[in-house]
Symmetry: C2
Subunit: 87 residues, 2 copies
């Protein structure tokens, strides 16, 4: 499946969350990651993040796509991620 | 088209950016918005955001989907947006 992950994690925990997300996905911008994942790795990623984040303070959204990627990604302003060189 | 927008905007400008994004899209979490937009409104949104953000400091990503929505959205932790009641 193709996954887009967006997080909003307190700076105390963000380094750990970043490291975990980068194990599974490409870092495309400050708080945005994406990539192709197996069902098993998607579960692992969620399991690991659940141990890192504080559910009262942080949030993570996962968009999952069964068989396609997005049609287009446009960005405006700073490129802060940088695992993928796009555009 | 269906649009997912993620921003990372300095707090000096974030109230304006939020207001603009909410004119066009649903606010689903802190820095994430989504919704169905016409090509004309997508252009308007980008035009308005370009006037608000500082391209040296802020970033915005737009994922656009021609004919489908995502298959699934899962979230973990806080729900900070709240225009849409999901799950």
């Amino acid at each position: 499946m193709f996954v887009i992950l967006v997080y909003d994690v307190n700076e105390k925990r963000v380094a750990k969350a970043l490291k975990t997300c980068r194990k599974y996905l490409y870092w495309v911008q400050n708080s945005v990651f994406e990539g192709e994942l197996s069902e098993a790795n998607y579960k692992k990623l969620k399991f690991e993040l659940e141990k890192i984040i504080n559910k009262e303070e942080d949030s993570v959204i996962f968009y999952t796509f069964r068989s396609m990627r997005y049609s287009e990604r446009e960005s405006m302003g700073l490129k802060k991620g940088g695992d993928v060189n796009f555009l």
